[in-house]
Symmetry: C2
Subunit: 228 residues, 2 copies
């Protein structure tokens, strides 16, 4: 019975996610859904990304949190459209769903936007099963979290398209075994592309920016060749 309810919820979510995706595709917007544990550094990655690329691209952000609009405020200073979803009003939900994103889009001016970041709620479990209409899922893991996380939270790693291993500036002070982390990652998702970086020191950051620009171009190209 419980499983039936969950299946219905996921099915309804999937329908709305596809509607969202149609709108994103029609407007030629690359949409990335960012997932991580609390404090892995998603917002700082977005801040630095927007700072570095805002001359070249028009960004927008949908922020998800249980409470506070702290992260939306951090991003609003870049003069881009930002909408905060707080799930306190949805019973403190532990993830965004497609309907919340649909509602956020009603208040978000998407005209001219080329890249939309959706920062999901800090949680390695709940967000993984809910598509929002994004092109790609990006999972951020901090080096401080340890090498066992892909094994312990397999769905989030399995459903992601890119793994950003953040806070590599702390590696000299940690015991994490990066080779073992990569082995554990490969076991749950052999296709998962990964980039090591530090949003703080910006080490490796250009590899992430290159990936992002490549993804945007690849989506634009598909769009123009489809003739719509």
């Amino acid at each position: 019975m419980k499983i039936q309810v969950l299946t219905d919820v996921l099915k309804a979510n999937q329908t709305i996610a596809l509607e969202n995706k149609k709108i994103f595709d029609k407007n030629q917007i690359l949409v990335l859904n960012f997932m991580s544990s609390p404090g892995a550094g998603k917002t700082l990655i977005l801040e630095k990304t927007i700072e570095k690329l805002k001359k070249d691209f028009n960004f927008a952000v949908i922020e998800g949190d249980v409470a506070t609009s702290n992260d939306a405020e951090r991003l609003a200073k870049y003069d881009i459209p930002v909408v905060q979803i707080t799930t306190e009003s949805f019973g403190g939900a532990c993830h965004l769903d497609a309907n919340m994103v649909k509602k956020a889009m009603e208040t978000l001016d998407l005209s001219g936007v080329q890249i939309l970041f959706i920062e999901n709620i800090g949680n390695l479990i709940c967000p993984a099963g809910f598509d929002l209409g994004e092109d790609k899922k990006v999972i951020v893991l901090s080096t401080t979290e340890g090498e066992d996380k892909p094994s312990k939270y397999p769905v989030a790693f399995r459903n992601s398209d890119l793994l950003l291993i953040n806070k590599i500036d702390l590696l000299p002070h940690l015991d994490i075994d990066l080779d073992l982390l990569m082995q554990n990652t490969k076991k749950v998702n052999p296709e998962l592309f990964s980039i090591k970086l530090s949003a703080k020191t910006e080490q490796g950051f250009e590899n992430w920016l290159d990936w992002l620009v490549r993804e945007y171009r690849s989506k634009s190209k598909k769009k123009s060749s489809s003739g719509k």
Copy 2:
């Protein structure tokens, strides 16, 4: 409608939690429910605690994870009763509930046990609302997660009795503002007692051990004075 369902679930959980608590109290076992983000260091704290106090106390552990029995294996080497609950078989649930703990107790030999640690699933949202029958909730926050976590995940901080701020050995390499963290904590829970420590270097660890022993003695005293 959705809220009605949630209320029913929480009510049913509360009933079983009280049954669990009766068994724990009858057996004079101090029970602590540990919550945190993934990778905040719960398991290492438990390992070091058991290592240091196992001459003086009989411990048992219930481990919660979505997948893997890694943590149970880490703790089993101390020759104490350990049961692993993996929620994959419960639809990948993002928290333990009282019924899972009740079932775990069927396979856990509690005779002679004085302190039971329940390590909840790494998640700052879902576990907070579900009592398991514990005496106290302990929330572990890593210094790497930032000072805004009490504001962003208020329920977990509000419902906890002790805050362990772990990984203070990394402070020289981080930008976290500990005063602001304490202010944010006080705002959501003015009563929350906190201890700063490093499970790795053991700095401050004795303060946590003192708290634990004090809690155990206080529970035993209450028990004996109640004459049962």
